[in-house]
Symmetry: C2
């Protein structure tokens, strides 16, 4: 293989130049502030974890994990999400802490294979875990909080699609018992939102007409609260019925939060079935083909770390939110000040810079111009460009 | 080897629980705010870089780099500092941007071998690079900014030790020309601050009495501006003389900034000689045996990325600052509010929670108590403990 050029960086990773970095920080700050107001407390965990602990417990496919060996030959992974590391901490350092635990994070996470599909190998997630509460109240809390976060970040319009793994699991068990291949095929279609393929697949399965109609019927199960009623009529399976009853309860709480207008029940939505155990949701911003947020209930994970407990939560895809916001953001006017001085006036100039930094809480740069001369360009609107940077004003100490 | 236990994490990495994470965030926020006011703009670079670009250019020893292979068999490194990645960006994405460039960062960095010495394998750095300005003015600017940062973070007392690689290089070349082993031995002693060992080594080198005295004399070269005068008398070597002249200029600018009281000239200070090319400095907080800040001039790095330019900068060791601050910080009183409600009062309770979050800008949690009952413990000072968390007040909607 050839050596990379000096200016190259690995595939799938990014540099954020000052303008983008400032926006990302601003989004992060607003999100963390929102999470704090809802009582969620940030924790920070290491980038590297043991493969045998956090690696195997994570919901990320094994081949997508970045692996390396430590000096003892033990396999490490670069974290692929924050849910498994937080489960580790809840079961160890926070073992004595009573439930529920409201925890938040903002972190970069890593997915190895995505690079080849033109996707990010490193990206930012801001999210929460609400651990130790199995109620519909807590499911609704994290959804309402996701809505508050997207609003705080300035994403609009957006919609939250809400589903439940129990509904499809129950329905498929009822209608396609022992036909796991057929179940897998249909779930695959739904996962890719390939509804045409789903209908075609149903036709080839030799199902009784009533069953085929029933399974086709779920494609219409997207909408408001009325979907719960419709879905209940579609199936008698107790698991599916329980799932719908839970979603109805969640919906009631979402109405009490006053956020149901942002939520759409979508019973065709399919998350990671091996990981999620209850409701799941995804947040979509207008014009963006991929979710800016995803979450759900995962009641089996904590047991893997020795402290069995129900849990629910979500992750916001912070750099995707940056993409949404950046499309809308108008060019900001510079608030920078430049102080130009000659050596004779150094002390006066530098103390003025110090004062202005305190007073204005805005960027103040200094420039020694030995003979008092420097190139400046007057811009429209009163600002001045010096050496490629636009300043709101230039103050001279050159006499 | 044995499998790690589920609750274990790799050696040398840390979890920051909510209290520590909040303090770390607060320090980070104050530092980034300070850097912004001095006109430094943050950039974010990826955690993974190519070994052949950033890896080999970094000042970190090869054996301390965390290495892994990408899918093409190319060696990647987890960044060990931010200076080399920023040099890469300055030479590529920011190639057209005029000098000087004032850039800042806050990032986690990785050092592989430190774990075994009980040191951190992952830690946080907040810092700046001032690229494209070779003047003593810019060296003084970054030192004055380091002082402002330590003050902003609440570190006190602290001292900045200021040296110059040219002084020792020049002096040793003058006195121990062609005796590289002796030079290496003496530099090693100074690096470890082993002054007894330094004196012993001098005795064994069979040097003329005048030379030995000269080399012993540098141990006294620590203090204020008077050190410059003393050092000038000690050597005639032009490289050493030039180093001292530069430090005197830097000192003058530091006086104009009004920060020289925090600075101590220490000509025995030795940084990484293969990396730094001019002044170097380290910040020490009281009671802490290791520096909380280090920096200096590195005029050769940018050329490795194809855009030769002088540069100066520093990195604050943010988690060491956390250790200093944590010792001093008093226990804070809780500002959290808990709203307890029955299902009947859900809507009223949840909208009150929303209002309070906006009004108070402080954490507000909610708790459904189906029959209006919940366990609470009245604490001294008026606060209330519910399920392990202390609240400033509890508001009930349970009628």
């Amino acid at each position: 293989m050839s050596k990379p050029k000096v200016f190259e960086k690995p595939t799938g990773v990014k540099d954020y130049l000052p303008e983008a970095a400032a926006k990302l920080r601003s989004i992060e700050f607003k999100l963390m502030q929102c999470l704090e107001r809802w009582g969620y407390r940030e924790i920070i965990t290491p980038t590297l974890e043991y493969y045998d602990t956090v690696g195997v417990a994570s919901s990320t496919e094994d081949k997508k994990l970045f692996k390396l060996l430590d000096r003892n030959g033990t396999t490490l992974v670069m974290r692929s999400d924050m849910t498994a590391p937080i489960a580790r901490v809840v079961s160890s350092l926070l073992r004595e802490h009573a439930f529920p635990l409201r925890l938040s994070y903002h972190a970069n996470v890593f997915r190895a294979i995505e690079a080849e599909a033109g996707r990010d190998a490193e990206f930012f997630q801001t999210g929460v875990e609400l651990v130790g509460d199995a109620s519909s109240e807590s499911d609704a809390e994290v959804i309402a909080l996701a809505v508050a976060c997207l609003q705080a970040a300035g994403v609009k319009p957006f919609k939250i699609a809400l589903g439940h793994v129990g509904f499809l699991n129950g329905l498929f068990q009822e209608t396609l018992r022992d036909r796991t291949d057929a179940q897998t095929q249909l779930k695959g279609c739904l996962l890719n939102r390939d509804y045409v393929g789903y209908r075609e697949a149903l036709k080839t399965m030799g199902l009784p007409a009533a069953v085929r109609e029933e399974l086709e019927g779920i494609l219409r199960l997207r909408g408001g609260q009325e979907i719960c009623r419709q879905a209940r009529q579609l199936t008698d399976d107790p698991v599916a019925q329980q799932a719908i009853a839970h979603l109805c309860e969640v919906w009631d709480v979402l109405e009490a939060y006053g956020v149901s207008e942002h939520v759409l029940i979508d019973l065709t939505m399919i998350g990671d079935f091996s990981y999620y155990t209850g409701m799941t949701f995804e947040g979509y911003a207008a014009d963006l083909g991929f979710p800016v947020c995803s979450g759900g209930r995962y009641d089996n994970l904590l047991a893997q770390f020795g402290r069995p407990a129900p849990a629910t939560g979500f992750a916001l895809k912070t750099n995707r939110i940056l993409e949404v916001i950046s499309k809308e953001a108008a060019a900001e006017t510079s608030n920078r000040v430049l102080i130009v001085y000659t050596a004779d006036n150094r002390q006066q100039a530098l103390s003025r810079a110090g004062e202005l930094r305190m007073e204005r809480q805005a960027p103040v740069e200094t420039l020694l111009a030995p003979d008092g001369q420097y190139e400046k360009e007057q811009l429209a609107g009163g600002s001045v460009r010096v050496r490629g940077i636009e300043y709101q004003s230039v103050i001279e100490f050159v006499n």
